[in-house]
């Protein structure tokens, strides 16, 4: 259940990029499948964290990133399926995770502010 501190971290980063007086209607994040974060739980926590902020009600758009690895022996790049990190080309266990371990805030989408159009 570290989604609460992850949600807090997402908001801490997002608010640093939010221009004065603007509101956020969506935050896009990348969640690696090896990051140990449960997306549904993250959505729940995010809603709670921003409930009293200019991002109240903002949608959390979660892009789930598959785990990719590279083989240190034969150089093949592959997507990790299930729980095996073996290289599918040469069966080597000597592999390095290249994607899917990270959590990133990609972008924020600002809400259309009333009165700006007129």
């Amino acid at each position: 259940m570290h989604e609460l501190s992850i949600a807090q971290g997402i908001w801490d980063i997002a608010r640093q990029h939010l221009p004065e007086g603007e509101r956020i209607q969506a935050v896009k994040v990348e969640v690696g499948l090896l990051s140990g974060v449960v997306p549904e739980s993250l959505e729940f926590c995010f809603e709670m964290v921003v409930s009293d902020t200019p991002a109240k009600g903002a949608q959390l758009i979660i892009d789930r990133i598959p785990i990719h690895a590279g083989c240190r022996d034969c150089g093949a790049d592959f997507q990790v399926e299930g729980a095996t990190f073996l290289c599918p080309s040469c069966r080597s266990p000597n592999t390095r995770v290249t994607a899917g371990a990270d959590l990133r805030v990609v972008e924020i989408e600002l809400a259309d502010t009333k009165g700006k159009a007129s």
């Binding site: 259940m1 570290h2 501190s5 992850i6 971290g9 997402i10 801490d12 980063i13 997002a14 990029h17 939010l18 994040v29 090896l34 990051s35 140990g36 729980a83 095996t84 990190f85 073996l86 266990p93 000597n94 592999t95 995770v97 371990a101 990270d102 959590l103 990133r104 805030v105 990609v106 972008e107 924020i108 989408e109 600002l110 259309d112």
Partner: protein
Amino acid sequence: MSIITIERRVLEKNDQVAQQNRDLFRSHGILAVNVVSSPGAGKTSIIEQTLDTLGGVMKVAVIEGDCQTDFDAQRVARYRVPVVQIVTNGGCHLEAQLVRNALAAMELEAVELLIIENVGNLVCPANYDLGEAMKIVVLSTTEGEDKPLKYPGMFRNASVLIINKTDLLPYLAIDLAALRRHALAINPDLLIFETSCTTGAGIADWCGWLQARRAGSL
């Protein structure tokens, strides 16, 4: 509608503090290890055995992380080593800043080996760098051989696996060879020790390695 591109890692703040901790450990010649496991696997017992073996040989200090209580700090304090208890109040993992705060209460010049006992949890602590040289994952024989496959993040991020409670093997159906195979499939670089804190089996090997690792890490 306007979009502002950010592209920042969520845990960047934790990682920055972890790097500061790491620099601090390096400048003081401290080997810091982050001990992780599910609740009840035997982290505290292994730390007690380690203190019993290395306490007179090396200057050891301990940081204890728990959701509640200072029971573990009390257990460890009996070995007359500096110990700081972090109570996370329900928090499921230690973060770099909590360790940094704990370090402020420690005399770092008097430490060669710092053992950080994380909150019992095989998921969340995997992603929080505390500035340690390595994660040590403890798995007890009663937990079954499938755990590395169920918690790949933790086993992938650890450098050492301690299979604990080997004295119970005669009573269990666990396939130890399969456990090793699964762990190495997730992380072929894992160094594996087998211990029993009841009989003391394997503790000398583990402590000998830890001592050598600290000597080589300087």
